[in-house]
Amino acid sequence: MRPPPGCCKRILPFNSAVQPRQESLRRGGARASYALMAATDSANTSGLSATNLTRDYPTRAEPLRILRGVNLSLARGDALAVTGPSGSGKSTLLHIFGALDRPTGGEVLINGRNPFALPEPELAAFRNREIGFVFQEHYLLPQCSVLENVLIPTIVAPDAGAAVAERARMLLDRVGLARRLDHRPAELSGGERQRVAIVRALINRPTLLLCDEPTGNLDRVTARSVADVILEMAKAENATLIVVTHSAELAARLPKRMELEEGKLEPAK
């Protein structure tokens, strides 16, 4: 697997994170063991690979095969757009990459680790540390402010310190929401909500950012703006980016594009 672009630049921040992770290791528990594994793996096999991935859904007649042997390999920092018709399995694929759903067959490795081999607490920690999600719906907690929504994932992050709040402010500033920190989701526009969701996805410096129709609910102008934010932020955070979208315009902005058709992932035409 080739090293991801900007890998060297990112080594320092990652190495700088080793110290607190080893600290957490001493405290024991799944989080600690995962922290060591993540620190080690990120230095060696960062990125995403999927091999012969299948996913079936049982039906009354016979199982419905959504994914029929998907293979994919992305290095750290890669950005991929996945397109395809409705029902082709794009979201399913994304859910599997995000360890939200389990494949029927095949293997997924994220930074060299198969998340589905992890027990639930470690899987949750893995997801918290390595994966950021942006959904078509923002899923912001209505009871929390913008800043609090962004900080939600840090609650369970093992090494989240006081600095994360500063980072959240910084990221929100970068997406133009510096003055809306205390606002509730109900007080934001659709684009603003989605930007908050993007910042929330990136708050823990994930190595994999997964976006499921992130602009699906937005008008063209807002969609473009949100897309800008996703691309910029992913690049800035050196995260591997996978965007599932129907939008040709958004797909066109990503360096790699693939199409999911009849359960197989093919380079986009």
Binding site: G98, A125, N128, R129, I152, P153, V156
Partner: protein, 1167 residues
């Protein structure tokens, strides 16, 4: 941002749904804590009642004997005469009246003495009695009660007629039936009928000056100086008992020591005419210790002494030992020529305080063998008897029942004694008022029948000259064999201190000996073995106030379904709230929150909600408790008898109830939070909490439910089959079990049906049913959308319906038909109790005549009365809320045991005979200190908390502990207030209990009322209270039925609460499907159709639950229905079920309104 912030934010944001959960928890807490409050209130009320009725009285002694009232004064106690009787005015009569002869010392022990205290010839009535008698101040009242008698009435010398005293009094005032007006020594919350009479008035009326049979005292007055100085911490009763022993005199025990200076002896005699065994043994031991020769004697009355055709009427016969100074039986007659004769006689005299009996031949009479008799020379002459003749003695013998029968025994005349020495001693016969003091035999007033026409002038002459000097003598062993009874076997013990050098002792010496002996005797007797035992009545009352039944537990049981409903409602509302927040939970999981953290968050919320619910529940609990207490004072009054309960709160119960409510709420939501593990974040993000089963999984789940349904159905069939061979009880249990199993089967079937693959829509389309039917079909199908929710709802309604209906199977009915021997009435139509025990057989003309009811003979033809001994005590039935410490005890006669009857729930019968007649078990020997008894199963289980074969410990009349072993448990019997033992055991434990106070009466059903009236009128003086057995059973049943009604009412409330859950589910369903409903509207469904859709959905679940529950309940109560369909409270059931339907449909209406309000466009957009 941290978990705490997130938690607080969630609390604030979701406050409405959480408040709903909290209110559910509050209901649970209120009901749970309220139940505990009811328990506290009952206990506190009983405790207060104890303190109120006893005032400052802490200890009390009630004896079966009369002692000096000075004895009470010596102990700083208040003397009293406590009697049970009846009261009459011109217009009314009241039975079971407590007649209390008291004086100032008693009133000082009252917390609030009455303003008016009765003076000579006056009586103070409490309000209960006054109301019953319709009496007021100035009214004339007759009090009737048994005349206390020193002589046991069951003994031959006991007086059995004219035993009732009637005392006319003027009512001085009527006092409230509270405070001292409620005074009573027995723990019972029922209002007593009290009549307070001046002690002196009662003593005068009874000719018992200076005597009392009871004393009451306060603890602070009990500590002796010695105790105070020593700082003794002895129990006040123990201290009092010690002082009692010190203060006791022979007069308190009806004993007297007569000094017979002329005869050189001292005689110990009893006013009871016979020395009690304990006293006799102690006296003989004392004489042995003091080295005083003693001669125990037994003097008896012979109706006739006959030889051949000659006979002497009404003579006394003395039994005592004639000790032979010569060891060789062949030389029984001392040789007058012997130089040693004088010393022989002196020796004889020294051994026998009675002195020697001298034969007419001049020889001293020697020891008699069995069945040998000596006649005095007057009798021998009159009978022309000579040694060797057969002498027949006819005498009265009292059987165990106290009935006098004439017995006869034939002796061999061993010799004729001269009327000198002991043979001429009239004091060998104890003094008996009515005989000893009669100038002539014609003036005799004996307690037994005598035919004075047999008395000849020569008999009168003998009486005139020699009074009751015995005419015949037998050995003590022979006398005791013939004439001993449970009351004793000696009439006197003669003490003869040896004089110096053969000279009889001087009177002064005799008095000295008497004093020495008295001291020794009193020191060796303990008051409790003589039935003089102080009881710590207040301590016992307060202990009993803990209650036979824990009303906290009882009402917890009654409210159980309400609590379960509240818990289910909490679970349901919490789950609905969580389901509504599925996306929120999904995003937390998606962003890396471990499931346990999310669960912890939800549990924290649940904790907060539960605690808030607990806090909210506390005032609710007080309100609920107050409502229940109000219920017990009004609607459910039969359960407690009198409206004495008041609300009492304790911090402990509030804390325990609150904690319990919180725990119940947390346990209820636990399952929902646990189920998080099963939910994929993707599903949650899609807003799906429950998840959707794949058809295959649904089919598998449906199959599983059907297997369960099949198994439960088999269990139901097995239960019904098992009940076929048993009795009524087994049948009832079998049907109840069968019904319950059928309910499980029905619910499992419904669950399976909901989860099955739905019928193809094409089938429905092809049928082209009318629109209404299609809408109904859609509504029913909607019920299957969330099978878990739907079955939970239908199950809740079904279970509640089942419980509420099936519990009616246990409703007690008072038959109303003819009594049956193998039923709870034992075949007896009537049951009676008399305030004054009867000593005559009501079944014989002689007995009736003795009771002065000969004229009632015709009315009592075909009537058979079975008497039972009655030992008064605590009512052991559910009519008494106090825990009985000394339950009432009945003694069943041999005739009753042989007769048998009654229905038993369980017995220890082993032999075929015992199985055929379990009453024979009452005769089984379980070794010393164990007495077999029967008790009603309800009494044993719920009041005494004992099972078959278990023991209940009481103390006998002498203060010795006795274990009453339950050898049989009667089922639904008339013996719920007492325990039943064999009369033989009864008399051993309570020998001083004379006569019969409890009666079972067999009579033709049609004449029941007439017989009842005849008996009550004829035996009015005895306070004979007759009750139909059906009425007595009904009085017990009314309590059980009240409890059941309480259970049903609270169960019904639970049912209503269940329907609220139904409404919540329906609302949730509507809100979940707002898009779908909007779509239907967009597709042209009129609002009415949508309303119908929602109503059908709700109605379907409601009806499913109702039908399942009701059908299974009907099966459960089938035996009762078969017996008496009218026994079930159909009206009440109908009202309750109608209430459920109304509540269910009411919640449907709310859901319908919600459906109508769905804004079509926004809902469609959301979709």
């Amino acid at each position: 941002m941290n978990l705490r912030t997130l938690f607080l934010r969630s609390l604030r944001h979701h406050w409405r749904s959480l408040l709903a959960v909290s209110l559910g928890a509050a209901v649970g807490t209120a009901v749970l804590t309220g139940s505990l409050i009811v328990g506290d209130s009952v206990r506190a009320s009983l405790r207060d009642l104890t303190l109120e009725r006893l005032g400052r009285v802490d200890c009390a002694l009630v004896a079966a004997r009369l002692f000096r009232d000075q004895l009470a004064a010596d102990l700083d106690a208040a003397p009293a005469i406590l009697l049970r009787g009846s009261a009459m005015t011109d217009n009314a009569r009241a039975g079971q009246v407590n007649v209390l002869g008291v004086d100032d010392r008693f009133w000082k022990l009252a917390l609030h003495p009455p303003a008016t205290q009765p003076r000579e010839g006056e009586v103070l009535l409490n309000e209960t009695l006054a109301r019953e008698l319709d009496a007021r101040a100035g009214s004339r009242v007759l009090l009737r009660f048994e005349k206390p008698s020193a002589v046991p009435r069951d003994s031959v010398m006991g007086r059995r007629s004219e035993v009732v005293a009637t005392v006319p009094l003027t009512v001085a005032a009527v006092i409230p039936s509270s405070g001292v007006g409620r005074f009573g020594l027995q723990a019972n919350q029922q209002l007593p009928r009290n009549a307070f009479v001046p002690l002196a008035t009662l003593q005068r009326a009874l000719k018992l000056a200076g005597r009392a049979n009871a004393m009451v005292a306060r603890a602070s007055s009990l500590r002796s100086d010695h105790d105070s100085q020593a700082g003794s911490l002895r129990h006040p009763t123990a201290a009092l008992q010690t002082r009692l022993q010190q203060a006791l005199t022979l007069a308190d025990l009806d004993l007297q020591l007569r000094v017979h200076a002329a005869r050189g002896c001292v005689s110990l005699e009893s006013g009871r005419m016979i020395l009690e065994p304990a006293i006799a043994n102690a006296a003989l031991a004392a004489t042995a210790d003091l080295g005083i020769p003693a001669a125990p004697t037994l003097t008896y009355l012979a109706n006739t002494i006959a030889v051949g055709s000659r006979e002497i009427p009404y003579s006394t016969v003395a039994a005592f030992d004639f000790k032979s100074p010569i060891a060789n039986p062949e030389s029984r007659i001392p040789n007058p020529e012997s130089q040693d004769l004088k010393s022989q006689i002196l020796n004889l005299k020294s051994q026998n305080p009675l002195g020697a009996l001298r034969l007419t031949s001049g020889e001293p009479a020697l020891a008699l063998g069995d069945d040998e008799i000596l006649l005095n020379e007057w009798a021998a002459t009159d009978l022309a008897a000579k040694p060797g003749d057969a002498v027949r003695l006819a005498y009265y013998a009292a059987d165990a029942q106290g009935q006098l029968n004439t017995a006869e025994h034939t002796f061999k005349l061993a010799g004729v004694v001269t009327l000198t020495g002991a043979a001429a001693d009239p004091t060998l016969t104890p003094e008996y008022p009515g005989i000893s003091d009669a100038k002539t035999m014609a003036d005799w007033d004996p307690p037994f029948p005598v035919d004075l026409k047999h008395v000849r002038p020569k008999d009168e002459a003998y009486w005139n000259e020699r009074r009751a000097t015995p005419k015949a003598f037998v050995s003590l062993a022979t006398g005791q064999r013939l004439w001993s009874s449970r009351f004793g076997n000696l009439t006197a013990i003669r003490l003869a201190p040896a004089g110096s050098a053969g000279v009889p002792p001087a009177e002064a010496d005799l008095r000295k000996t008497a004093a020495l002996f008295e001291k020794k005797l009193l020191a060796s007797l303990t008051p409790d073995q003589l039935g003089l035992q102080f009881q710590p009545v207040k301590e016992q009352g307060l202990r009993s106030a803990a209650g036979a039944t824990d009303f906290g537990q009882l009402f917890f049981g009654f409210s159980f379904f309400l609590i379960v409903s509240a818990a289910m409602l909490v679970a349901l509302l919490f789950r609905l709230g969580v389901e509504r927040r599925a996306k929120e939970i999904g995003i937390l999981l998606a962003t890396g929150f471990p499931v346990r953290v999310v669960r912890r968050l939800l549990l924290l919320e649940a904790c907060a909600v539960a605690v808030a619910g607990g806090a909210l529940g506390v005032p609710g609990a007080v309100a609920y408790g107050a409502l229940m207490i109000a219920g017990l004072r009004t609607w459910w009054l039969p359960a407690v008898g009198t409206p004495f309960l008041h609300l009492a709160l304790t911090g402990g119960s509030l804390a325990v109830g609150c904690a319990g409510g919180v725990i119940v709420a947390l346990v209820s939501v636990w399952r929902t939070t646990r189920s998080l593990r099963r939910h994929a974040p993707v599903m949650l993000l899609a807003g799906k909490f429950a998840g959707e089963e794949t058809p295959a999984a649904g089919a598998r789940a449906a199959r599983r439910r059907w297997y369960v349904a099949g198994a439960a159905l088999l269990a139901a069939v097995a239960s019904l089959a098992a009940s076929a061979g048993g009795g009524a009880e087994q049948a009832a249990m079998g049907f109840f079990g069968g019904g319950a199993a059928l309910l499980v089967a029905a619910l499992a079937f419904v669950d399976g049906w909901f989860r099955r693959e739905p019928a193809s829509s094409t089938t429905v389309d092809a049928a082209h049913p009318p629109r209404a039917r299609r809408v109904a079909w859609l509504g029913i199908r909607n019920g299957a959308r969330h099978p878990g929710r739907s079955v939970l709802t239908a199950g809740l309604v079904a279970s509640a319906t089942f419980l509420v209906m099936a519990v009616t199977a246990f409703h007690q009915t008072s038959g109303g038909g003819a009594p049956e021997k193998s039923s709870g009435d034992g075949g007896f139509l009537l049951v009676a109790e008399s305030d004054v025990p009867l000593h005559h057989d009501l079944n014989t003309p002689k007995g009736r005549e003795a009771l002065g009811m000969s004229s009632a003979a015709a009315a009592l033809t075909g009537v058979r009365v079975t008497p039972l001994r009655l030992r008064p005590g605590d009512d052991a039935s559910c009519l008494n809320l106090y825990a009985p410490e000394r339950p009432r005890i009945l003694g069943a006669t041999d005739a009753m045991i042989e007769r048998g009857g009654f229905r038993f729930e369980a017995t220890l019968a082993e032999t075929a005979a015992e199985k055929a007649n379990p009453w024979l078990l009452l005769r089984r020997d379980f070794g010393p200190g164990v007495v077999p008894v029967f008790g009603d199963a309800n009494t044993a289980q719920w009041i005494l908390h004992r099972g078959l074969g278990e023991d209940f410990v009481i103390t006998d009349e002498h203060g010795a502990p006795v274990r009453l072993r339950f050898v049989g448990l009667l089922s639904g019997s008339i013996f719920q207030s007492e325990l039943v033992m064999a009369e033989s055991h009864f008399l051993k434990l309570f020998p001083s209990q004379s006569g019969y106070g409890f009666f079972l009466i067999e009579a033709p059903v049609k004449r029941g009322r007439a017989v009842s009236q005849t008996l009550a009128e004829a035996l009015n003086d005895y306070g004979f209270n007759v009750t139909p057995t059906a009425e007595r059973l009904a009085s017990f049943a009314v309590i059980e039925n009240t409890y059941l009604a309480t259970f049903q009412m609270l169960g019904g409330l639970g049912l209503v609460l269940g329907t609220l859950g139904l409404g919540a589910i329906l609302l949730r369903n509507v809100l979940e499907r707002r898009g779908e409903l909007a779509l239907l509207r967009a597709l042209g469904f009129p609002q009415r159709a949508l309303a119908a859709l929602v109503l059908v959905e709700n109605g379907f679940l409601l009806l499913t639950g109702l039908i399942c529950g009701a059908a299974c309940a009907l099966l459960a109560v089938a035996p009762h229905l078969a017996a008496r369909a009218d026994a079930l409270p159909w009206g009440q059931l109908a009202v309750m079920l109608a209430l459920v339907v109304a509540a269910g449909l009411g919640s449907s209406v709310l859901a319908v309104r919600a459906a109508w309000r769905v804004p079509m466009l926004s809902a469609l957009r959301e979709e």
